[in-house]
């Protein structure tokens, strides 16, 4: 009896399969062309943006085309097939160009990113697809290096107390660091577990949602960063390569400039020779200041009044879970997005106007860092900052310490 029932079920199943196959039998794919129109931010003097580099990447095949817009701000891509694309555009305005367009005498990076554009002949037929650029001022302080991956112990254990950040003065003027904030951006770094969703704040393009806030101490002029030099901010400013720590660590951070000692922690370690950053906001971890080894989102920023910033509850968390702080993009000096891997672009937390791309390392606990590409200008090392980490950063097999 059961056998006949089973056979019946199998029969129905095959029938359904056949029906399914039937539907796929459509006409062959037709290639088409699509026109894109790049536009300057709304507050610029001019609308159409000429000379913008536009990149279109087919997410299924990985094939990429790159073109520059004409004087009208237009560009046409040909031989496209329907599917999901990553559309990005970028342009760097020199001080003169910026002056003409905005009246501000400072270099500006303009970017655009849509990491899942469903492109079809129908969409392309409706006229040029607009690409609205947004941007931020260049120069000054940049996050030069982030070492977040952690290292392996000789026993094969995972060690992550040797993380550090490097902040660099990319300008030719000295800059006072006092009051500069370093924050970790809230959200997971990729598909670490099957049910992990991207940050619920991803759609807010005007704010960054942070889970920590550390401030460089000082009355205003105490910590001056000379042109073309950097400071190291360690999670723990100790020699991590020592026997009692992790001989497998790539760094000795006992000469770091600052460390992130968690006030009130009964577990953290305080190195007397490394000044502590001021802990302004740290509700998620009462013991350590670690950032995700899968890839943190990091910003440096300034505010006169931290307490006036809005704190918001995280959707999908229990009512007693800590809140995050909502930082307007305008307060951010530099942002670096790092994610778990090349495939985790959907988990981007930071808006494209601050960082249009993301960097990544090969795996967790590899001892690798991400570091900006550099160029020598007049004998000084200047680090590339187009507000796109994908282009600006490269992988370093071991962190580089000054």
């Amino acid at each position: 009896m059961f056998k006949s029932k089973l056979t019946g079920l199998l029969g129905v199943f095959f029938f359904l399969c056949l029906l399914g196959c039937d539907r796929d039998d459509e006409p062959r794919l037709r290639a088409f062309s699509a026109e894109f129109s790049t536009l300057f931010p709304e507050d610029f003097e001019v609308g159409q943006a000429a000379g913008v580099t536009v990149r279109l990447k087919n997410l299924a095949s990985g094939s990429q085309q790159e073109k520059v817009t004409d004087a009208e701000g237009k560009v046409v891509f040909e031989e496209l097939i329907p599917g999901s694309y990553e559309l990005s555009a970028s342009m760097t305005l020199s001080e003169e160009q910026a002056m003409a367009l905005t009246g501000i005498p400072a270099g500006i990076n303009l970017n655009y990113l849509d990491n899942s554009l469903a492109l079809s002949e129908e969409l392309a037929s409706k006229g040029p697809i607009s690409v609205q650029l947004s941007g931020s001022v260049t120069g000054g302080l940049v996050i030069k290096q982030v070492y977040y991956s952690g290292s392996k112990t000789p026993e094969g254990g995972n060690y992550f107390f040797d993380q550090f950040f490097e902040i660099y003065n990319n300008s030719s003027e000295p800059i006072a660091l006092d009051g500069l904030m370093l924050s970790n951006v809230y959200g997971v770094s990729g598909q670490i577990n099957p049910d992990q969703a991207p940050s619920p704040f991803q759609d807010d393009k005007d704010h960054v949602y942070i889970s920590t806030a550390w401030r460089i101490p000082g009355a205003g002029q105490d910590n001056i960063l000379q042109p073309f030099t950097g400071v190291i901010i360690a999670q723990q400013g100790i020699n991590h390569q020592a026997e009692e720590a992790n001989p497998g660590s790539p760094v000795d951070l006992s000469n770091a400039d600052f460390e992130l000692f968690v006030v009130g922690s009964t577990r953290d370690v305080d190195a007397p020779n490394v000044p502590n950053m001021e802990m302004v906001y740290h509700p998620f971890n009462a013991t350590f200041s670690l950032v995700p080894v899968f890839g943190p989102g990091t910003i440096i920023w300034r505010t006169d009044d931290f307490s006036s910033l809005e704190q918001v509850a995280i959707p999908d968390t229990s009512p007693t879970f800590p809140q995050v702080v909502k930082v307007p993009n305008s307060l951010v000096l530099d942002a670096v997005e790092t994610l778990r891997s090349e495939a985790d672009g959907a988990y981007k937390r930071i808006a494209a106007s601050l960082d249009a791309g993301f960097a990544y390392v090969s795996n967790t606990y590899t001892g690798e860092s991400v570091i900006r590409k550099s160029a020598s200008v007049d004998g000084n090392t200047v680090y590339q900052d187009t507000n796109n980490s994908q282009l600006d950063f490269e992988l370093s097999a071991t962190p580089v310490l000054p």
Binding site: T153, E155, G156, G157, N158, Y159, F161, D195, A197, Q236, I238, N239, A242, E243, E244, A245, N246, S254, F261, V263, G264, S265, T266, R267, D268, V269, D270, A271, P272, N273, M279, V280, Y281, H282, P283, F284, N285, A286, T287, F288, S307, Q311, V312, A313, I314, P315, D316, T317, S318, P319, T320, F321, P322, Q323
Partner: protein, 904 residues
């Protein structure tokens, strides 16, 4: 008071009944007398043992009363019949047949309200065998309102009786309040101290890394089911003879006496089980010796050899009957058991070398002496004595990679220098408990004629004693387990654990009267439990007086009865709550990890918080129920509405701790040696910290409706239909205001931390129907049953969350309360608890069905095989949570198993 007065008047106004007598004899299929059979008469509550000629009685029975007669004898199918005693002297002939699937009336489901007047379910041997259980837990899925489960012994097994799943604290409370009584004496879990200190960020009351049921009910997977003759689960208002339980009492009778050798081999994808037993009669036929053995080996994943559970049990039984002219029966059992659960990660996969094991080895001696008297004043005296010695050993290890940091070692309040610990070390922690549980009961029952009516009076006393003398929780102080949220961790010996005593007295009267000419049966009792701690500092925990009342009114005799019950039940929290041990707070006064090792200095202050013994109190649970049962159109039915509450049950709270931390001045930084500090502190700062402690803060309200209908067999297709189910609504909350010490890390300069109102919890509901089609083919010795289970309602929603604080605590520890009007002021905005709106949504799962199939087939008497498939259609829909937007797979996984049984 007024109600009591009315009751008394009613009792006296009811006219007395004319008595009739009932007597009879019990014979086997060869017409030979069966001595030693148990004859139970309900609702009058008498129980008798047939004598050497198989005869019993005479017993007085109220006029025109339907009497339910149940006869049971080991190895024979029980007889359950309803008779109407019409003659003055009624003589019954009761024939028993050997248990076999050849019999037309094989019961494979639970039966409602067989004994006593409170709501209960009885599950007999054939029904147990049909479940093909790995443990007692599997048998209990036959109760109304319980959902079908896949048999599993891979994790500790507990049961929620009359409660829908809600908070974990609410479930723990219900499991703690479920009592298991085996062969007349309780199996106590009250001395189980197999605990661990919570690790970072886990919520209070979280389970340890190894398997443990400390603070909960007995682990039901440790009880094999093949030796069980009968299980009765009292869900309603229990007789006054049952104590130390608030959520239900599970009564288990295992086999003892003479029976043919039996062997059972059972397998499913996860486990392999062998059980067998034999009972021999020793001449002269007044003695019998029996032996039961059971072994199971199970793995959560058959490919994984590193994780598993095994259980070995052996029970030696000795039965002595017919002493003092067949008046005294002495049953003694010696039980040995070993339970071992292990888990280990593959070394190649896990450099942390995580592993744990939990072993329970127990010796149990249980004696029950029953004396049937001829005296007019005394019917029966029963003494039960049991002693249980349980050796519980748990172990866990981890190769910890952490940071170079403080590893405080002080065991009392002190301030001093402590070396920095290394970042990499192996922690090994053992928790060794030696639980002792002693129990005795002395009980007499008698039938007295008072005011012209027959009263069955029960009087008894009990003493329960639970203690633990184990070496305790131990580890190397310099290599501690992964450390706690702001609190320190230290070993603890169990040598100072007090003994938990429960001294009880109870009395109960069962009698009948008449209301509007119809019989009205009463069961009225009262129980007093005195709880106290013994040992170095004895203390009383209080005395709870618990009234118990059940009444049943036979509106249409044999067809329709109305029932009502009200009672108070009580339970004492187990020793893990009563003696929580000290807590430690470690404060870092001076943290100086210089590059040169000789110059390093770490000054630590350790504060020891002594949590007093007996800090939590026994708690009560009032229960009320109203029901109707009977038999209409050949279908017997039972419908019961209930409401049960628990107030101030034990739970855990995260208590804030204001730590005054001394700060020292550095006088000198010498080269090559540590800094020289000022002798006394130069200043203090205050830290807001926290630790977990047990308190009486858990509340439960369970309301619901349970139903069972046994439809008559459709003879043409040999199929019978059985319907059970329940609608249960549970509200689980914790009372008492709570502070949020984590707040301080959000606003490091905040002068205060907020207090929020208690009453936070979960409200949940569940409605299921379980329809069982039972198809019997006596000629082929075959029974097939098909369960169609539907869950119509399954929902839960958080309750009691408020955004506004009700008070503040400042750094001096001074509390100020805030009114609702004050709390909304802008200056307190920072103290609001932001709640993501979707977290307060109600999860409402759509209806879900499940189809299970079971089959038992005998080739000869007691020989055959059995087979089952759970979730036959592999229906496992996904549910998308409205709170977390994630998907979960519902229903049991497709599962199957088979067994062979053989009887000589």
């Amino acid at each position: 008071m007024r109600w009591g007065f009315t009751l008394v008047c009613t009792l006296f106004l009811l006219h007395s009944l004319t008595a009739q007598t009932l007597e009879g004899y019990v014979i086997d299929e060869n017409q030979l007398p069966l001595p030693g059979a148990l004859i139970q008469l309900e609702p009058i509550g008498r129980s008798l043992i047939s004598d050497s000629r198989g005869s019993f009685g005479p017993v007085e029975v109220p006029e025109s009363t339907a009497v339910r007669i149940k006869v049971s004898f080991l190895g024979y199918a029980p007889v359950d019949t309803l008779i109407n005693v019409s003659a003055d002297r009624y003589i019954l002939k009761l024939g028993l047949q050997r248990s076999s699937l050849e019999l037309g009336e094989v019961t494979v489901t639970g039966k409602e309200n067989q004994a006593g007047l409170g709501t209960s379910t009885e599950i007999n041997r054939q029904a147990i065998a049909h479940v093909q259980p790995n443990s007692l837990r599997d048998v209990l899925q036959l109760l109304p309102g319980q959902l079908a489960i896949n048999p599993s012994v891979n994790s500790p097994q507990q049961i929620l009786i009359r409660q829908a799943p809600s908070t974990s604290a609410g479930s723990t409370l219900a499991q703690l309040g479920t009592s298991l009584v085996m062969d007349g004496s309780p199996i106590s879990n009250d001395a189980n101290l197999q605990y661990n200190v919570n690790i970072l960020n886990s919520s209070p009351g979280s389970r340890p890394p190894f398997q443990s049921v400390s603070g909960q009910g007995t682990d039901l997977r440790q009880i094999p089911a093949d030796q069980i003759e009968r299980v009765e689960v009292i869900r309603g208002v229990a007789s006054a003879r049952h104590g130390n339980a608030t959520s239900g009492t599970i009564l288990v009778e295992t086999r003892i006496g003479a029976f043919s050798p039996q062997l059972r081999v059972r397998a499913n994808p996860n486990s392999f089980q062998v059980s067998g037993g034999v009972g021999l009669s020793v001449r002269p036929e007044k003695q019998a010796v029996s032996l039961d053995l059971d072994f199971i080996d199970s793995k959560p994943d058959p490919r994984d050899i590193l994780n598993g559970y095994s259980r070995i049990t052996a029970t030696l039984g000795h039965e002595l009957t017919g002493l003092f002219g067949a008046k005294l029966t002495w049953r003694s059992r010696l039980g040995l058991s070993s339970n071992l659960a292990v888990s280990r990660e593959d070394e190649g996969n896990d450099p942390a070398a995580r592993a744990w094991r939990a072993q329970d080895r127990a010796i149990r001696i249980n004696n029950r002496l029953t004396y049937y008297s001829d005296s007019k004043w005394l019917e029966k005296v029963e003494a039960t004595i049991s002693l249980n010695l349980n050796r519980q050993d748990a172990f866990f290890q981890e190769f910890i990679t952490t940071n170079v940091g403080p590893r405080p070692i002080f065991l009392k309040d002190s301030t001093g220098s402590v070396p920095f610990g290394t970042a990499r070390y192996l922690n090994e922690t053992t928790v060794a408990g030696r639980a002792v549980n002693y129990y005795h009961r002395l009980e007499s029952s008698a039938n007295w004629r008072l005011f012209g009516e027959s009263h069955r009076v029960l009087l008894g006393t009990e003493w329960r004693y639970d203690a633990n003398r184990g070496p305790g929780r131990t580890f190397d102080l310099t290599r501690p387990p992964r450390q706690n949220y702001s609190a320190g961790d230290r070993p603890r010996s169990f040598s100072d654990i007090p003994g938990l005593n429960q001294l009880s007295w109870y009395g109960e009267d069962r009698f009948s009267s008449r209301l509007m000419g119809k019989p009205l049966f009463w069961q009225i009792g009262v129980r007093a439990d005195h709880y106290f701690l013994s040992g170095a500092s004895p203390m009383s925990l209080g005395t709870h007086i618990q009234p118990r009342l059940n009444a049943s009114w036979a509106l249409i005799p044999q067809k329709l009865s109305l029932k009502a019950g009200y009672g108070v039940l009580s339970k004492v929290p187990s020793l893990i709550y009563l003696s929580p041990g000290p807590r430690f707070i470690d404060l870092i006064n001076f943290n100086y990890y210089a590059p040169v090792p000789e110059e390093r200095l770490l000054i630590v202050t350790t504060n020891k918080i002594d949590l007093p013994d007996g800090g939590v109190r026994p708690y009560k649970s009032p229960k009320a129920e109203l029901g109707v049962d009977g038999k209409l159109f050949g279908s017997s039915f039972s419908l019961t509405a209930f409401r049960e509450t628990v107030k101030n049950g034990p739970g855990y709270v995260r208590e804030h701790y204001l730590a005054r931390r001394a700060e020292f001045e550095v006088l000198e930084y010498p080269t090559g040696s540590p800094p020289i500090l000022s002798g006394s502190p130069v200043s203090y700062d205050t830290l807001f910290l926290a630790y977990d402690r047990p308190v009486n803060n858990q509340n439960l309200v369970n309301t619901g409706l349970e139903y069972t209908v046994d439809f008559p067999e459709i003879k043409r297709i040999n199929t019978q239909l059985n319907l059970t189910g329940a609608y249960i609504k549970t509200l689980s909350t914790s009372s008492g205001n709570v502070v949020d010490p984590g707040f301080i890390y959000r606003y490091t300069d905040s002068p205060n931390i907020p207090i929020y109102a208690g009453g936070v919890g979960v409200s949940s509901a569940q409605w299921n129907t379980s329809l069982r089609f039972i198809h019997r083919v006596p000629a082929a010795r075959l029974v097939i049953s098909c369960l169609v289970q539907a869950i119509w309602i399954q929902m839960d929603s958080p309750v009691g969350y408020t955004e506004l604080p009700v008070g503040l605590i400042d750094r001096r520890g001074i509390q100020t309360s805030l009114s609702m009007d004050e709390a909304v002021l802008p200056e307190y905005d920072n103290y609001r608890r932001e709640i993501a709106e979707n977290q307060l949504l109600t999860e409402r799962m759509p209806p879900l069905t499940l189809i299970n199939l079971r089959l038992n087939k005998e080739f000869g008497e007691g020989r055959g095989f059995a087979f089952y498939v759970n979730n036959l259609t592999n229906h496992r829909p996904l549910y998308r949570s409205v709170r977390s937007d994630t998907y979960s797979q519902r229903n049991l996984s497709l599962f199957f198993g088979a067994e062979l049984f053989y009887q000589l």
